[in-house]
Symmetry: C2
Subunit: 421 residues, 2 copies
Amino acid sequence: MSKVEWYLDFVDLDYTPGRDELIVEYYFEPNGVSPEEAAGRIASESSIGTWTTLWKLPDMAKRSMAKVFSLEKSGEGYIAKIAYPLTLFEEGNLVQLFSAIAGNIFGMKALKNLRLLDFHPPYEYLRHFKGPQYGVKGIREFMGIEDRPLTATVPKPKMGWSVDEYAEIAYELWSGGIDLLKDDENFTSFPFNRFEERVRKLYAVRDRVEAETGETKEYLINITGPAHVMEKRAQLVAAEGGQYIMIDIVVVGWSALQYMREVAEDLGLAIHAHRAMHAAFTRNPRHGISMFVLAKAARMVGVDQIHTGTAVGKMAGDYEEVKRINGFLLSEWEHIKPIFPVASGGLHPGLMPELIRLFGRDLVIQVGGGVMGHPDGPRAGAKALRDAIEAAIEGVSLEEKAKESPELKKALEKWGYLKPK
Amino acid sequence: MSKVEWYLDFVDLDYTPGRDELIVEYYFEPNGVSPEEAAGRIASESSIGTWTTLWKLPDMAKRSMAKVFSLEKSGEGYIAKIAYPLTLFEEGNLVQLFSAIAGNIFGMKALKNLRLLDFHPPYEYLRHFKGPQYGVKGIREFMGIEDRPLTATVPKPKMGWSVDEYAEIAYELWSGGIDLLKDDENFTSFPFNRFEERVRKLYAVRDRVEAETGETKEYLINITGPAHVMEKRAQLVAAEGGQYIMIDIVVVGWSALQYMREVAEDLGLAIHAHRAMHAAFTRNPRHGISMFVLAKAARMVGVDQIHTGTAVGKMAGDYEEVKRINGFLLSEWEHIKPIFPVASGGLHPGLMPELIRLFGRDLVIQVGGGVMGHPDGPRAGAKALRDAIEAAIEGVSLEEKAKESPELKKALEKWGYLKPK
Ligand SMILES: [Mg+2]
Ligand SMILES: [Mg+2]
């Protein structure tokens, strides 16, 4: 058989996938070949591969051929749905999954653009993944917060504080009402602020604030680094009675993340996932990988909360996409627990009603500048944020609330309803 | 001070960077702000961050401000060069580096596109990285191959073989003259082909071929998986006397890679890096991260060979870029050893002269279909490839060589000079 038809063997628009096949959705733009052939190549390269005729073909290979079972026009390209038999994927190994469905296909000449839109793991594949250890329910339990969003703040600027200065700021923020202190995504360990010293002194402050306020306070401490360094740092956190660890899951990569999920279980730690670098491949709507896929994979592995952007802050990512992601993260999904979406980036107290109207209460709200920039300092900023959230929940307007809260009044004067261009 | 000038504090076109600052080059397209402001935001967000005025600014933060020291027009956008003081980066932690210079900046609203073109680590930062353990010199030494390219083949199709069938093919390829057998990037461990069984039986075959041919044979075995799984698999390889491990470094992520570099040193294993998924963020010339950056970072961490694409195969990536990358990989760079570039994708014996003319001899040539598709089977395919390479080195034409090699003659008949569209 000449080599062209070969790719069409991977296309069968009448095929209905079995219950235990994994389905993947791609958007693509063919480059000098027909849509069918392009889809066939994707199916081939991401399952059993090769562009020429071979000496011999084991029938296990035949059995593992992926099938393109639907192909539709969409925008400037096409959307293909492909069914994969599970024998192509090692049980519980997400890294290997991505090396197949998000591997070399991105670099093929027969395509101008390719984007991985979604994937549907059948229960049979899914059950080799633990999913989150705590998720929404577990986190609400150990935080003792039943029905309001959680709040988090990064001590801005995200660099430069010595440990003692950092501890001072933490004291102000927690005392003011912030639930979670957060390191910024590139804040790990530096000569002026060593991790080993920070982990010891910040939890000491935390214990003091808990004793003074009676509220539970936690710290999203950044342990990002080489896998063996993260393991050591997680132990230090557990030794101080910390309940969370923060990981930049994209730069870290799936491999170390899966490892840290095991470590987290041993130490009983919840995982806060930051997505720095995701936009390098999620930003372009016609190429790369969608944030939805990233969020789904992260939930499978078992992070307990993840940044999903926000509709009213500085970053793009329009409302539907964020809403869709959050909807999924909070949905029932076999034995995989729902997890918290995290809203962050350019938020301030004046945007709370709008935010909660759009996304509801199962949310972690991270405000950086919007708290640290409060004229009266971080403690006042924290209080302003909590009052704004309380107003939004009780359905009271912010002007109204501001009468009984000078901190909120000042915040509104400074940021009003300004939307940065 | 109003908030707009703030970003301009990060811009100083008269500044000359100190010897120990790390310089980064970005390509960007502003989105509704001036180029200076856009560049300032990049500098700010990737160093000390924030978009509003703050309560207090520690002078260590002032000292750590990144500086945009040059800004030029380029294509549809601009190129900015930014200098970072080293105190922003944890020594020897590449993950944290990327969370800064390849972090959130990709998602900023003030930019339409952003691409990380290059970075220049000063010696002061560089010396916390080990670099490769073997590199070109070390590999040539343990392979006993002084002055020709190395050859590698993946038993196509990349899926479906049981271990015994795989071992048979390996026997044919090695006996035919292939130096390195290679697993494909998504070939890890499956019910029909468990890693634990494969590692035991393939090296047994290897020892037999070495005894029969007197040549050194090695196996680029794929250990990709969660970090703790990779560590276990690397041990099994070392226990069998293997010299290499293969890792899909992009899906694996920097964190586990840095960890495996330590493991590799303990076990004396060379690292073959596959780049599956890189095209998700390297493909688009106006956004994402360049392959050059990826290759440079990988060399710093210390992989011993890496795929860099090829000018004559099926994938794009034009000649200059590949030539530039390979040039760098083979260049002297402080105490960081030169490493092998790997050419792969749609190669066959007929392309060898051209390939070697373009890239020289310090190269690993990986041919999959171009060997496995030989009409007389893999052994003949392997011999055809070695003869073609030998011809290219001796400066003899392929027709000429084909007279004394029936295997090559048949290969040329099948693939001649066909360039797939
Ligand atoms: Mg941040
Ligand atoms: Mg491959």
